[in-house]
C-alpha cells in the first residue's frame, strides 16, 4: 500500500500538542509521514462484538480520519467476558453493541469522526456507507457478511482485513483453538470464494438456516451466530492485535510477502501463508471481468429483501439519517427470511445492482 498526499494546500499543525504527544510513541515505528497518511484514511469495521470491539479499541488510538462501524446485535451477559467496554448494566439494559462503540470512541476522543450503525450489513443503504472506506475490517462471525465485506471492498478499491477466531471442542477437550487474519486488496488477484476459504454452501450457511445450524452443531463447529460457542477474550485480543499490526505495516508502505497469518493458540505459534493465485482469474468478484473496481456499477452481496433491518445510526457528526433507518422498529429476521438468499449457477450469491 502506498499513500500519496495530493493536497494542493499542505496542512500544517493540524494536530494539537496533546494529540502529537499521544501519537508519538508509535509514529516512529510506522516511519516518517505514515501517521499523517493514516490520519487521512477512512476505516470501516463490520462487527462490533468480541473481535470488533478489540479492533475498534486499537484503531481509534491510531487516529484515523473517520471510523465507520456496523453491528445489529445487543450486549448480553454472555458477551461480558470479551466485548471491550461492556458492563453488567449494558447487558441488563440490552444495550446495542454500537452504543457501546459510540461510548468507547466518544469518551476516548470526542473529536474523532465516526459513524456507528445498528443494522444489518447485508442491506444496501448500510453498504453504501462503507463504500467510503479505504480499509474495511471484517470482524463478524457471519460468513455471508464476511464475504459481502470482501466483495464490497474489491468493488470499491478498498482493502479488506478479515479476522476470525475458532475453537473446536470434543467432549470438553480443546481440539483446536486459534484464528486467522488475512487481507485482500484490489491487486490481490484472489478472494475467499475463488480461493476456497468459503465455499458456496458455507456462504449460504452463513444465513444459518436451521438444518445448517444443526449440522454445524453436530460437527462441533463454533462459527456462526446464535451458537453458544466457547469464546475467549484473550484470543480475540491476539487476533485483533495481529490485524491492527498488519494494517499499520500496510500503511507504513511495506510490501507484505504474505496474504494471511494463522495463529495456533494451543501451541502458541503463528505462521504466515500465501494464497496460490489462479491465472487467468475469472472470478465474478475479484477479476477484471467481474466486479473488481467497478465502483457504483458493481453488484453488492445483499439479502433478497434488503429493507428488513436497521435501527439507528450513531455518530459524533451531524448526519442525515439513512432513509427508513433511524428510530424505526426493525422487523426481526427469522430463519425463514434468512433463507431468502438465492443462489444460481452463474453467480454464487444473490446480488442486486445499485447505483
Amino acid at each position: 500500500m502506498k499513500i500519496i498526499d495530493t493536497n494542493i494546500v499542505e496542512e500544517q499543525g493540524s494536530r494539537n500538542e496533546q494529540e502529537q504527544i499521544a501519537l508519538s510513541r508509535h509514529s516512529e515505528v510506522l516511519g516518517e509521514g505514515a501517521q499523517e497518511r493514516l490520519s487521512q484514511l477512512t476505516i470501516g469495521v463490520v462487527g462490533a462484538g468480541g473481535i470488533g470491539s478489540e479492533l475498534i479499541e486499537k484503531l481509534m488510538r491510531l487516529a484515523p480520519k473517520r471510523l465507520i462501524v456496523i453491528d445489529d446485535d445487543i450486549i448480553e451477559y454472555t458477551n461480558l467476558n470479551r466485548v471491550v467496554g461492556s458492563t453488567y448494566q449494558d447487558a441488563a439494559e440490552s444495550a446495542s453493541k454500537v452504543e457501546l462503540v459510540s461510548r468507547l470512541i466518544s469518551s476516548f476522543n470526542p473529536a474523532q469522526d465516526f459513524t456507528a450503525i445498528k443494522g444489518d450489513f447485508l442491506v444496501s443503504e448500510h453498504q453504501e456507507e462503507f463504500k467510503a472506506c479505504d480499509v474495511i475490517f471484517s470482524a463478524t462471525d457471519n460468513v455471508v457478511c464476511r464475504f459481502a465485506t470482501c466483495a464490497l471492498g474489491l468493488a470499491n478499491g478498498s482493502a479488506v482485513i478479515d479476522v476470525a477466531t475458532g475453537v473446536v471442542m470434543d467432549d470438553q477437550t480443546i481440539k483446536a483453538i486459534g484464528g486467522q487474519v488475512y487481507y485482500i486488496t484490489p491487486a490481490s488477484g484472489w478472494c475467499p470464494l475463488c480461493a476456497g476459504l468459503y465455499n458456496q454452501s458455507e456462504v449460504s450457511a452463513g444465513l444459518l438456516n436451521p438444518e445448517e445450524l444443526e449440522r454445524q452443531r453436530a460437527q462441533g463447529y463454533v462459527r456462526g451466530e446464535n451458537i453458544a460457542a466457547p469464546q475467549v477474550g484473550a484470543l480475540n485480543s491476539i487476533l485483533a492485535g495481529y490485524a491492527a499490526w498488519l494494517f499499520m505495516r500496510m500503511v507504513s508502505g511495506e510490501e507484505l510477502e504474505f496474504d494471511g497469518i494463522a495463529v495456533d493458540a494451543l501451541t502458541f505459534s503463528a505462521h504466515t501463508w500465501r494464497e496460490n493465485r489462479e491465472t487467468p482469474n475469472q472470478c465474478h468478484y475479484c477479476s477484471d471481468d467481474g466486479n473488481l473496481m467497478k465502483g457504483d456499477s458493481a453488484e453488492m452481496v445483499l439479502r433478497t429483501d434488503s429493507n428488513i433491518d436497521s435501527d439507528s445510526i450513531l455518530a459524533n457528526v451531524e448526519e442525515e439519517p439513512v432513509e427508513g433507518d433511524v428510530h424505526e422498529e426493525s422487523e426481526e429476521i427469522d430463519s425463514d427470511e434468512s433463507k431468502a438468499l438465492n443462489l444460481d449457477n452463474n453467480n454464487p450469491l444473490h446480488t442486486s445492482p445499485v447505483g
Partner: protein, 161 residues
C-alpha cells in the same frame, strides 16, 4: 456537515508501469491516459483506475521540456474505449522540472476551454480527472473536472494497492 474526501486508487502494477513510462525521459514532459470508474457516497468520491494507455513517441503531437500534448488518433482511441466500456478519463502529465507539482495556467486553460467543453458536447457520459506528477512520483496533484459547475474539485489522496 461531514467533510468530503476524494481519493484516486490504482493497483500497484498500473502505478509502477505509469511511473516507469512517465519518468523514462525526464528531459521532456510526458503524458499517459488512465481509465476509471467512480464509487460515490455522500462523503466521498473514489476514482478507481481500471487501466492505462501509454503513448509511444509517435503518439505525441507535441513533446518538449515544457509542453506536451497527445495526437488526435491516440486520443480518439482512448475516447472510443471510454464509450465502449463506460469509462472515464484520467489525463496524466508530468512537470519533471518542478518540485511540488502545480497545474499551470496552460493546464487550467486547456481543461476549461478545450477538453471540458469538448467532452461535454461530444462525450457527455465521460468524466475527466487530471493528474500531474512533479519531479518525483510521490509529487502528485489530482483534480476532477466538474462539468456541471465548470470547476475543479480537489482529490486529496492517492492510494496504490
Amino acid at each position: 456537515m461531514m467533510e468530503k474526501q476524494n481519493v484516486i486508487i490504482m493497483r500497484s502494477h498500473d502505478f509502477g508501469a505509469l511511473v516507469e513510462h512517465l519518468y523514462a525521459d525526464t528531459a521532456k514532459e510526458a503524458m499517459a491516459i488512465g481509465y476509471y470508474r467512480l464509487s460515490t457516497t455522500e462523503s466521498s468520491k473514489r476514482i478507481l483506475v481500471q487501466g492505462l494507455s501509454l503513448p509511444t513517441v509517435e503518439d505525441y503531437a507535441v513533446r518538449t521540456p515544457s509542453l506536451v500534448s497527445l495526437g488526435g488518433e491516440f486520443l480518439q482511441n482512448c475516447f472510443d474505449r471510454c464509450e465502449e466500456d463506460g469509462l472515464s478519463i484520467v489525463d496524466i502529465h508530468t512537470h519533471p522540472w518542478q518540485e511540488g507539482a502545480r497545474f499551470s495556467g496552460i493546464d487550467d486553460n486547456e481543461a476549461r476551454e478545450v477538453k471540458g467543453p469538448y467532452l461535454k458536447q461530444y462525450l457527455p457520459e465521460v468524466n475527466i480527472t487530471y493528474a500531474l506528477f512533479g519531479s518525483t512520483p510521490s509529487d502528485l496533484r489530482v483534480r476532477m473536472w466538474d462539468s456541471r459547475d465548470c470547476e475543479f474539485v480537489n482529490v486529496e489522496l492517492a492510494i496504490t494497492w
